[in-house]
Amino acid sequence: MARSTKYFVKNLAHKADAPAELEVEALGDGRYAVTFHSPTPSPQGPLDGKRSELESLVLPHGAVSMIVDGQSYNVEFDEKGDEVGVLLRGQLTRFDVADERKVRMRAATAAFSVEGKQMITAPMPGKIVKVFVKVGDEVKEGQGLVVVEAMKMENELKSPKAGKVTEVVAKEGATVENGANLIAVE
């Protein structure tokens, strides 16, 4: 994976606000550099592009000991679906965290309207890793249809509705462009 990745972190207590963008760069040995970029001013204070170097040690039970500029944070995480609760110095904050790939995937999913025929399209350039269905299969809402690999991560595209598979354009191993038709469910 890329040594530097951008994450979109949305504070769920302020859902209307745009997510903050944090660029995480692995420096090795459990050290990271994090740079804040934010498109809009945020209630989390001025997000000024400042770069922080930090050390993050993952503990056996999943908590993290993070040291940023000498400040020691004992961080516990509470994960529920896509949300992560971060408990740090007695404050619990819930976030939605997504990388660029996921954000695009979501955008693709959000574009679905669940009425009538639904064409599942590639949310970004990538490679078809697996096709789970064939024409005529009955599928449930949320059932996995196809796995697309992009940015070295795999993502499963799910059926937006219950129905029948009417078209399978995707072929395992094929490279696809952004927006390419993959599978239709009716």
């Binding site: 995480v24 993050s56 971060v86 404050q91 796995v147």
Partner: protein, 508 residues
């Protein structure tokens, strides 16, 4: 009375553990009873013996007298401690224990009868000269009587059903012109709820303090009090923070309330641990509210400042022992307790059962955690969601507040939603720190008590969340690399890889 050798605790969770701890110290064998939902509960594991007494719903298990007594018989327990809640204030249960030849660790059935029913208790107390909230000592014969009485004591007043509680048949009336319609609806509601339309009237106390006195009696007629507890921090009529001494009591008031509480307990020939609850108005008049004929949830604060183990005393008195101390015990220092609940304060304190993934309880000087949970334990959704009582002691009230804040910051409990942050906000609130908070405090300040974000902590949390996501991605990548290497690269089935990657990412 014969010496007790084996104690069955007819309860669950933290209070069962609390009682068993003292039993173990005294060398008594302990017996747990558990419902099918509580097979993995800590109290089941903590006891020397354990017997299943029925399905998850308490009315089919913890509330079934026959099942509890059968477990006592099977185990050979010679005494039963009821804890609080469940059968602890059930006179029928006390009589059934007596009949079965098992010592009930608590007051006699007659004392429960005398205090169990509201108007009955009120009359008993009036007879004993105990101040009760000004009002009628019997139901009204007709509306005109009610009207005349209200004019006498002044509005606002409360109309209350004589036959039962729980808010049914209860009306607050602020003005004379509203009385008649309230009278009618209260009576009809009381009839349908209790089959009894009798109502009586009490003066309405606006946002009083809830202060209670711990009393203790033995079978030799001795009754003492062990000072007060301030319990005005209530949400939805339930205590969440308790302390002793009460910040609003003077030594004179303590002595006066203590004297009245002892008189009340003596009036019903009370034996064992009990609590007289009072309402205290803004002029510091105090009125009898009700008596709890059992141990209270908040008993640890009394233990901290008196040095007494109340459960040990209960066992001592149940065996016919004389109270170890017969004169008042001066409170030493200050103690605060908070109740840790599996609930979400932000959604009207909705219970939040679930599986606890990690626990680290606070400790160190003068910190006590009475809990009944452990990492990996699933808090069931059938019972009260209280998972721990956390209490502290310090020489002064302010030091106790500081210590409790520190202890709450230390408390780590993940996997379920708890009120830990809410409790911290209470301890931070200026009204609480000031000490003059009434029963309306938590409701009034609810929004503020949900807490505000500290922008610096939010920023650190964002960094933690992003780095965490990155570390998981790194780990998943490493896993893929490893798998690929292990099977010779391209020969691997993509289906398998997908499965593994998903597993590495958990349920995201």
């Amino acid at each position: 009375m014969p010496r007790i050798k084996k104690v069955l605790v007819a309860n669950r969770g933290e209070i069962a553990i609390r009682v068993m701890r003292t039993c173990k110290e005294l060398g008594l064998a302990t017996v747990a009873v558990y419902s099918e939902a509580d097979r993995s509960a800590l109290h089941t594991r903590f006891a020397d013996e354990a017997y299943c007494i029925g399905p998850a719903p308490s009315r089919e298990s913890y509330l079934v007298i026959d099942n509890v007594l059968e477990a006592a018989k099977k185990s050979g327990a010679d005494a039963i401690h009821p804890g609080y809640g469940f059968l602890s204030e059930n006179a029928k249960f006390v009589r059934a224990c007596e009949k079965a030849g098992v010592t009930f660790i608590g007051p006699p059935a007659s004392a429960m009868d005398a205090m169990g029913e509201k108007t009955h208790a009120r009359r008993n107390m009036i007879k004993a000269g105990v101040p009760v909230v000004p009002g009628t000592d019997a139901p009204f014969a007709n509306f005109d009587e009610a009207k005349a009485f209200a004019a006498k004591i002044g509005f606002p007043v409360m109309l209350k059903a004589a036959g039962g509680g729980g808010g049914k048949g209860m009306r607050r009336v602020d003005r004379a012109e509203d009385l008649e319609s309230a009278w009618r609806t209260a009576k009809s509601e009381a009839m349908s709820a209790f089959g009894n339309d009798a109502v009586y009237m009490e003066k309405f106390l606006d946002q009083p303090h809830h202060v209670e006195i711990q009393v203790f009696g033995d079978t030799h007629g001795n009754v003492i009090h062990l000072n007060e507890r301030e319990c005005s921090a209530q949400r939805r009529n339930q205590k969440v923070v308790e302390e002793t001494p009460s910040p609003i009591l003077t030594p004179e008031m303590r002595a006066a309330m203590g004297e009245v509480a002892v008189r009340a307990a003596k009036a019903v020939n009370y034996v064992g641990a009990g609590t007289i609850e009072f309402l205290v108005d803004s002029k510091r008049n105090f009125y009898f509210l009700e008596m709890n004929t059992r141990l209270q949830v908040e008993h640890p604060v009394t233990e901290w400042v008196t040095g007494v183990d109340l459960v040990a005393w209960q066992l001592h008195v149940a065996q016919g022992g004389v109270l170890p101390i017969l004169k008042p015990i001066q409170p030493r220092g200050h103690s605060i307790e908070v109740r840790v609940y599996a609930e979400d304060p932000a959604t009207n304190f909705m219970p939040a059962p679930g599986t606890i993934s990690y626990v680290r309880v606070p400790s160190g000087p003068y910190v006590r955690d009475d809990s009944g949970v452990y990492a990996g334990y699933r808090v069931p959704n059938f019972y009260d969601p209280m998972i721990s009582k956390l209490s502290v002691w310090a020489p002064t009230r302010m030091e106790a507040i500081l210590k409790m804040r520190r202890a709450l910051d230390e408390y780590v409990l993940t996997g379920i939603t708890t009120n830990l942050r809410y409790l911290k906000q209470i301890l931070m609130h200026q009204e609480f720190v000031g000490g003059n908070y009434d029963t309306g405090f938590l409701g009034r300040e609810h929004q503020k008590l949900l807490g505000e974000e500290d922008p610096a902590l939010t920023r650190a949390s964002m960094i933690a969340a992003a780095v965490r996501a990155h570390q998981r991605a790194e780990k998943a990548q490493a896993q893929i690399a490893k798998n690929t290497a292990g099977t010779g690269g391209s020969g691997i089935s993509p289906w398998r890889t997908a499965g593994r990657r998903q597993a590495a990412w958990g349920k995201r």
